[in-house]
Subunit: 308 residues, 2 copies
């Protein structure tokens, strides 16, 4: 699956991913009103608004980008109707040819971990039939359990040609509370990075692995080191834009071949029409504002890559 | 919510929780056949089998136990129909007066973490209305992000009188890969335990906190130390029975007052009819086998507690 992602990055010239993390507060009033008229001020109504919002954004940007990253929490908060909107979004993006990174941050042990891996990336058997319940292309995985928790995902990645991004260094201010703790003089995230590199070796597809890592844009010095520790891993980089990560800081997340990283922006793209810069589009044309924000983000990152 | 859990433990005399982690392979043929006849060999059919299986077990054991712990991965693997069965199970157990611990092991940062907290423990606003989408009583939470990831859960716990159990030391063989790493001579899980104790202080309800910890039964020496580090926390203890944890090892997870721990068994209870010991019940009476296994587990743990 990493090969498909790389092809899409080359095709679009855009090492970026759009985070589909809809909050009701982002969605323009004309969309929520219509959804609530049809389905009421209910979880179904919220889910419908989320879906219509996503669809319009995807329709406006799909040809510019290689991948999307729906954050399942934003759907799960609306219960079963919300999760149905998540699935609809995944399916629609795949129809559009986009690589779908399910930002689910699941993690557990043994058979439980396998259940997550099967449910999100692989298939389950029901009697004589098999089904791919959510069928994302990649998912994010929490490594706190060690290899017991990761192995079922690795197995499914190999069987199904899918991929994962393991959390190594997250973008939030308190990520250091545990991740930066020193172990024999080196921070925990480096140790996690080394393990990820080891696991990545067992899931190679070409020069890169189907096992990647999440490293926040907000910690560029750590990104530089982790880039070297995990040479064959793609790094999924959250924290660009709204969280403070700058394009200049991100060049070190890429390898010399210009590959090896994919930078996420969520709010900065999907709620672009709320920024002064894109205000002229107005809420009615929010999706066109998202398109302009995608174009600006691509130029920003490619510009920084060109200057390095 | 911890007070409600304590009352239920006192009422039943049973510091245990039944893990509702159904695998299709556990479910007797007569139940799956009926479900597949009605709904086909589909995800809906699998979900129906899971639900009927759960219901019969809950009906057979609810009066003996304070709480259940459905593992959401086992439902999520069957996609949206599976998650509907999860919700049905949560609702049904709550109707029966059981405390419901959603074993969801979610964890993320900021607004994303809040979305999980709202969706599973709290409420979401849709226009002028509010809804409790999953409405578990407790959930398990992954601490890898530090306080940024945990705070939204703490806030919802205080607002809604709900609770969480943070992963501190998990029961699996490779849990030491990261959790046991030494930081200034002390393992990471102790540092996590100290933070959990700190966070617990902000969510007290009586003598105990609504913030508890997960510490595997398979590491009793570590459990002893963690018990002291987190005196006001309930410890949710997985790994009894099938994973190898013995009642004698578990007495140190309890405080002097006989409170402070709740021991989970999943497979050992819900698939009891498959063990030689309970074979006489046969697949038709699997729920009665579960009841016998619950009675034996209570006697086993209370026996060990009595002997200490």
């Amino acid at each position: 699956m990493i090969q498909k992602l790389m092809e899409k990055i080359q095709q679009t010239g855009a090492p970026i991913v759009v985070g589909l993390d809809p909050m009701l507060g982002y969605i323009p009033g004309h969309i929520t009103s219509k959804a609530f008229e049809e389905k009421g001020e209910t979880l179904e109504g919220a889910a419908e608004a989320v879906w219509q919002y996503n669809k319009e954004i995807v329709d406006a940007v799909w040809d510019l980008i290689p991948a999307v990253k729906p954050q399942i929490a934003m759907y799960e908060q609306f219960g079963l109707p919300g999760l149905a909107a998540f699935k609809k979004t995944v399916d629609y993006c795949k129809e559009k040819g986009l690589v779908v990174i399910g930002d689910v941050k699941r993690g557990d042990i043994g058979s439980t971990s396998l259940a997550y891996a099967a449910g999100h990336l692989g298939k389950v058997a029901v009697g004589s039939k098999t089904y791919y319940p959510f069928n994302e292309d990649f998912v994010t995985v929490n490594p706190y359990f060690g290899i017991d928790g990761v192995k079922p995902f690795l197995d499914v990645c190999r069987e199904e040609n899918k991929g994962i991004f393991l959390l190594v260094k997250t973008s939030n201010p308190s990520s250091g509370e545990f991740q930066d703790q020193l172990i024999e003089g080196r921070p925990l995230y480096e140790l996690v990075g080394e393990k990820v590199a080891e696991w990545a070796d067992t899931c190679m597809e070409g020069q890169y692995s189907n096992v990647g890592a999440v490293v926040g844009a907000t910690y560029p010095e750590m990104g530089k080191i982790l880039r070297k520790i995990m040479p064959k891993c793609f790094i999924l980089v959250p924290g660009y834009g709204a969280q403070g990560g700058k394009a200049e800081d991100l060049v070190h997340y890429f390898n010399e071949d210009g590959m090896g990283a994919i930078v996420n922006s969520s709010r900065g793209i999907i709620a672009a029409y709320k920024q002064e810069k894109y205000q002229k589009f107005g809420p009615e044309n929010f999706a066109q504002a998202s398109r302009a924000a995608v174009e600006d983000m691509i130029a920003d990152i490619n510009g920084a890559l060109g200057r390095r």
